[in-house]
């Protein structure tokens, strides 16, 4: 599996650290109900198919990436910088 970093180009999967579902970018408000925090931290859609998740270019530029890929085929569709994706 290879990921294309917007800064560095196509790189070996081993350069990246995997974090998990990109739900991690949508942190609840500090006073949100416990259920919202539970959903954010633990509960997952866990799709068999297209997914969006976070990878850290640890052995490269050090950027966090939002990667679109498929969990069934391992096809990687693309990646954007997390700092830009963040609303």
């Amino acid at each position: 599996m290879r990921l294309t970093c917007p800064n560095c180009g196509e790189r070996d999967r081993r350069e990246f650290y995997y974090y998990g579902d990109a739900i991690a970018l949508r942190r609840p408000a500090p006073d949100a109900v416990p259920e919202a925090w539970d959903d954010y931290l633990h509960n997952r859609k866990n799709p068999a198919g297209d997914t969006t998740d976070l990878w850290f270019h640890e052995a490269g530029c050090g950027a966090w990436l939002v990667v679109d890929r498929n969990t069934v085929t391992h096809a990687v569709h693309g990646a954007t910088l997390a700092e830009k994706a963040k609303r």
């Binding site: 599996m1 070996d12 999967r13 081993r14 995997y18 974090y19 998990g20 579902d21 416990p34 259920e35 539970d38 959903d39 931290l41 633990h42 509960n43 997952r44 859609k45 866990n46 799709p47 068999a48 997914t51 998740d53 969990t71 069934v72 085929t73 391992h74």
Partner: protein, 417 residues
């Protein structure tokens, strides 16, 4: 008909013509008292114990593929009770006791072999941690023996003891640990359940769960609708999809775990050897193949096959531990879909829907749990009460943080187990 040594000889003399399929292939009925979704080890064991312990025989196991096609036929078959934390400790202890009586109970040879498991350590700190774990195991009533370097050398002379990075300081020996023939476990439980009247229905995928007013009514399948008063979800790596049919989102991410086997060799490895620092473990199958594996690939996946970096990592670790393995040729490798929870421990619980139960989150360690999980989940489904050894496997522990069982001590977060 039962199995016996006499029967094996008799069939041998008469051309093996007397053997019959050991479970029926029934059409699904319109309604059952209980339905188990998923015919893996856990689903089949649940059905077996529902029938045997609770007299519930009007039940069906619905399997989308074939019996043994899931993780139950893909694992590296290690069976052990060397857990540390309350919750896990009593559960796996109970499960190992069921293993020890399984073959007589099922009248089926699952080739359960208590050849002993040795967990290696390579530093003073690690030794302390293993002493503590060993004491926890003994307190639980299980067995643990601390070995020093020479003690390990007596059992495992073929290891590289003086490796510069990971010199072997000793090991924690668990004599009752071992392996079993994984398919036979699935087949044995399937046969036992079938003999007690359970319908095992293969090629039957559940596509929907019918719920009315918060109460489960049955399931939709590729072979039609089936009604049931109770439904148990036991689908391992597919837990997310099936739970979504009941409107639930689970604390589970599905990951790929790979395993490897070499060509058949003469006996060399008589134990299960675990090299935690290299995320590597190995045993030798009764056919002679060296069966070994490592860690997850570490990205969510349903592909049931992994990538090359983890293969390389596992081979590296193998060479570090026992350079002799470099002479063996790898025959094949494969992957399974692991239902990973944030704390690495499982879930056996009710769901918010009345009559709907769930058993999942076995991560990479659910083979040894097959009898215990089936026994405890059957108890919960039949009586509505949690079975004592599995009472801590609650679904809501993540929400309030109470009762988390983070066996590795890395933190209750998805990417850390």
């Amino acid at each position: 008909m039962g199995y016996s040594g006499f029967r094996v000889i008799k069939e041998g003399l008469f051309g093996q013509r007397g053997w019959k399929p050991v479970w029926r292939d029934p059409e699904p009925k319109a309604e059952y008292d209980a339905i188990i979704i998923g015919g893996g080890g856990h689903g089949l064991a649940t059905a077996y114990y529902l029938a045997k312990e609770h007299g519930l025989t009007n039940i069906a196991v619905l399997e989308k593929g074939y019996i043994g096609g899931g993780n139950v036929g893909r694992n590296t078959t290690i069976v052990r009770a060397n857990y540390f934390l309350p919750g896990n400790s009593e559960f796996y202890s109970h499960s190992l006791k069921l293993w020890e009586g399984m073959e007589q109970d099922l009248n089926y040879n699952v080739m359960h072999s208590q050849r002993g498991l040795i967990n290696l350590f390579h530093s003073d700190g690690q030794r302390d941690a293993f002493v503590r774990r060993g004491n926890a195991m003994i307190n639980q009533g299980d067995d643990a023996i601390l070995l020093d370097t020479d003690g390990v050398r007596k059992h495992l002379p073929y290891l590289d003891f003086d490796n510069v990075r990971f010199p072997i300081y000793g090991g924690l020996y668990h004599p009752r640990g071992g392996t079993a023939r994984h398919d036979a476990v699935a087949w044995g439980y399937a046969r036992g359940a079938d003999q007690r009247g359970v319908d095992i229905i293969q090629n039957c995928e559940v596509t929907g769960i019918d719920i009315e007013g918060g109460v489960v009514k049955g399931v939709q399948t590729t072979r039609g609708a089936i009604k049931a008063k109770k439904v148990g979800i036991v689908v391992a790596g597919r837990s997310g999809q099936v739970a979504a049919m009941a409107g639930m989102r689970l604390p589970i991410e599905s990951h790929v775990l790979q395993a490897f086997v070499t060509e058949g060799l003469k006996p060399i490895i008589n134990h299960v050897v675990s090299f935690g620092m290299g995320h590597f473990y190995i045993s030798q199958s009764d056919k002679g193949g060296l069966v070994f594996g490592g860690d997850l690939d570490f990205y969510s996946s349903y592909a049931a096959r992994g990538n090359l970096p983890m293969k390389e990592h596992v081979m590296d670790a193998a060479m570090t531990l026992m350079p002799a393995i470099g002479k063996a040729r790898v025959l094949r490798s494969w992957g399974g879909i692991m239902d990973m929870t944030p704390d690495g421990s499982p879930i056996i619980d009710k769901t918010p829907t009345e009559g709907l139960f769930i058993d999942c989150g076995w991560c990479y360690g659910g083979f040894k749990a097959v009898p215990g999980s089936g026994f405890s989940f059957a108890h919960l489904m039949a009586t509505g009460q949690h079975h004592e050894p599995a009472a801590k496997f609650r679904l809501d522990r993540f929400r309030d943080g109470h009762g988390l069982m983070d066996e590795e001590g890395t933190g209750a977060q998805h990417n850390l187990h």
